[in-house]
C-alpha cells in the first residue's frame, strides 16, 4: 500500500475471493452516515470501477450511475 499505513497486519495464506458481479460497497447498519451522502455514494461507484474496470457494474450501481 502507498503511502504505508501506520499499522498493518497481514495473515499470509488466508484470503478471500471477490466476485465483481456480486461485489458491492455498502453502509454498515450502525453507520451514522448512510445512502444519500454524495461523498461516499460516489466513492463507492468510483472504487468499484477502479477495482473491476473491465467488468459490468452491478445493477444497483447502474441505477446510481
Amino acid at each position: 500500500v502507498w503511502p504505508q499505513p501506520q499499522h498493518v497486519r497481514v495473515w499470509p495464506g488466508s484470503s478471500s475471493r471477490l466476485v465483481p458481479a456480486r461485489f458491492r460497497f455498502g453502509y454498515a447498519r450502525d453507520s451514522a452516515v448512510g445512502p444519500g451522502c454524495a461523498v461516499l455514494d460516489q466513492a463507492f461507484l468510483r472504487y468499484w470501477r477502479l477495482l473491476f474496470a473491465a467488468q459490468r457494474r452491478p445493477p444497483e450501481y447502474e441505477q446510481l450511475w
Binding site: W2, W11, S14, S16, F23, R24, F25, A28, V39, L40
Partner: protein
C-alpha cells in the same frame, strides 16, 4: 478460500460534512477477514482514505480472479496538511488535467490542492467583478480561462475526494498579467524623470489599489469555500518602486527611508487585515515573515527558499510561534537524471533544532509543480510517482524510511497508477503486468 461480496463502511460520527477542512478527521480502521470486510472511520473523509487503501489491497490472480488477503489496518495521517501546488499561469492547464491530478492526489492520500492560479505570464481566473482581468490577461480569453463553472467543477471534484482547494492570488509581485485588465493597479517604472512604459509590482501607495483588492478578495473569499487563502507575498522586485518618484515621496512621508521592505510590509499588512475581515485565514510565502510583517497568530508561513537552509527557517518560524508549511525540498518541477524521488523521500520535515512545541507547529508540507517548463503534455509523468514520495513522507510514520522497501512499494503503486490510466513515469528499469495503454 472464501468469497465475500461486500465491504461495509461504518462512519461513527453523524453528518456528511460539506467540505474537508484543516481539522478533518482522516483516520480509519480496515478489517479484512475471510468472510467479512469492514471499514470504520470517524468521518467520511477517513472512510475515503480507507476505501483507497482497500482498493490497493485487492490483487488479481493469474486466472483472473480477484482476491484480498486477510489484513487488519489501523491508519491515520502523520501531518494534517499534505498538499500539491499546480501553477496554471506559466502554462494554462486544461481543467481535465487538473481533475486527473486531483484523482491521483486522492490515490496518494494528499488532501490540499494549492491552486497557484494567476501570476506574471497570464491571468486565467475569470472574475465576475473584474472580467477584464482574464479578458486582457489570459493567454486566450475564450479558451485559456477558468470560468466560474470550471472553478466550481474543480472544487467539487476535490471535495468528493476529501481534498481542499486553496487558491493563491499572489501580490504585490508576480502580477504583470493583472495590469492590462486593471489600469492604474501596477506601479509605472521610470527611467530618470520619465515613465519607461514598463510596470512593476502592485502600486501600494494608492487608495484605489486597496479598493480594487477589497472587491477582488471578497469575490475570491466567496468562490473558494476553504477557510484559507494563499496570499503569496514572495519575490517582490524593488527596482521599479525605487525608480518611481511618487513612491519615493510616499516613502519619505511615511519615514521608511530607503527600506522598501517597509513599503512591502505596509501593503501586505493592509491586505491581510482586509482578508481577515472577510473571515478568512491566510497562508503566505516566507518573505512575509522574513520582512517582519505583523500577521495574525494563526497565519501559516510557507517555507520555500533553499538559499538559507530550510531547516533554519522552520526553526525560526516555529520559534516565533507560527505554523509552518514545508515546500523547500519538494520543488518537483526540478528534475534530474536518475532516481530523484529518493531526495524527496529522504526529507524529514521535523529535522530542525527546536522544542517539541515548535515541532507541533509544523502542519505538513506541499509538493510544488511550477509551470515554466510544464504543461498538459508532461505534467502527469513529472508529478507521478515522484509526488508519491512526498505523500508518504507526510502520511506515514516517521520511522517509515527503508529505501529498498519504499522502492518496491512505489514501483508497484506506479503499476497500479498505469492500470488506472495514469501516465506515471518509471522509477527505474522493470515492467508492469499491465503497461499503460492509451485506450
Amino acid at each position: 478460500e472464501m468469497s465475500c461480496n461486500e465491504l461495509l463502511v461504518s462512519v461513527t460520527k453523524p453528518g456528511c460534512e460539506d467540505y474537508p477542512n484543516m481539522d478533518s478527521e482522516e483516520s480509519y480502521k480496515l478489517s479484512i477477514s475471510e468472510d467479512s470486510f469492514l471499514l470504520t472511520a470517524d468521518s467520511v473523509w477517513g472512510a475515503l482514505r480507507g476505501l483507497e487503501t482497500f482498493s490497493q489491497l485487492v490483487g488479481r490472480a493469474e486466472d483472473g480472479t480477484y482476491y484480498v488477503n486477510k489484513t487488519d489496518i489501523v491508519d491515520f495521517p502523520r501531518f494534517r496538511y499534505r498538499g500539491l501546488l499546480l501553477d496554471t499561469s506559466r502554462h494554462y492547464l486544461p481543467v481535465k488535467a487538473i481533475l486527473e491530478t486531483l484523482d491521483v492526489m486522492a490515490y496518494n492520500k494528499l488532501n490540499v490542492f494549492h491552486w497557484h492560479i494567476v501570476d506574471d505570464p497570464s491571468f486565467p481566473y475569470e472574475s465576475a467583478a473584474f472580467p477584464d482581468l482574464s479578458e486582457k490577461g489570459a493567454y486566450n480569453p475564450i479558451t485559456h480561462v477558468y470560468t466560474p463553472n470550471d472553478v466550481k467543477l474543480v472544487i467539487e471534484h476535490a471535495r468528493l475526494r476529501g481534498i481542499r482547494v486553496i487558491p493563491e492570488f499572489d501580490t504585490p509581485g508576480h502580477t504583470l498579467s493583472w495590469g492590462p485588465g486593471a489600469p492604474g493597479l501596477l506601479t509605472p517604472c521610470y527611467i530618470g524623470s520619465k515613465p519607461s512604459g514598463a510596470y512593476g509590482p502592485v502600486n501600494p501607495i494608492l487608495n484605489s489599489t486597496y479598493q480594487f483588492m477589497a472587491v477582488l478578495f471578497r469575490e475570491v473569499s466567496t468562490v473558494f469555500p476553504d477557510f484559507y487563502l494563499h496570499l503569496g507575498g514572495d519575490e517582490v522586485e524593488f527596482t521599479c518602486w525605487r525608480s518611481n518618484p511618487e513612491i519615493n515621496s510616499f516613502m519619505k512621508q511615511m519615514g521608511f527611508g530607503q527600506d522598501y521592505t517597509e513599503l512591502e510590509s505596509f501593503y501586505i499588512q493592509r491586505l491581510l487585515d482586509m482578508v481577515s475581515s472577510y473571515g478568512k485565514g491566510y497562508v503566505v510565502w516566507q518573505e512575509v515573515f522574513d520582512n517582519g510583517v505583523k500577521v495574525k497568530p494563526d497565519t501559516i508561513i510557507h517555507v520555500w527558499k533553499e538559499s538559507v537552509p530550510y531547516q533554519h527557517k522552520m526553526a525560526q518560524v516555529t520559534k516565533a510561534g507560527y505554523r509552518a508549511l514545508l515546500s523547500a525540498p519538494w520543488y518537483l518541477n526540478h528534475i534530474s537524471y536518475g532516481q530523484d524521488w529518493l531526495a524527496a523521500y529522504k526529507v524529514e520535515p521535523l529535522q530542525f533544532a527546536g522544542s517539541s512545541e515548535q515541532k507541533a507547529l509544523v502542519i505538513g508540507g506541499e509538493a510544488c509543480m511550477w509551470g515554466e517548463y510544464v504543461d498538459a503534455t508532461n505534467l502527469t509523468p513529472r508529478l507521478w510517482p515522484r509526488a508519491g514520495a512526498v505523500a508518504e513522507r507526510l502520511w506515514s510514520n516517521e520511522t517509515v524510511r527503508d529505501l529498498q522497501d519504499a522502492y518496491y512499494r512505489l514501483a508497484d503503486f506506479r503499476c497500479k497508477l498505469l492500470g488506472r490510466g495514469i501516465q506515471a513515469e518509471p522509477l527505474f528499469v522493470g515492467y508492469c503486468d499491465h503497461e499503460y495503454s492509451r485506450s
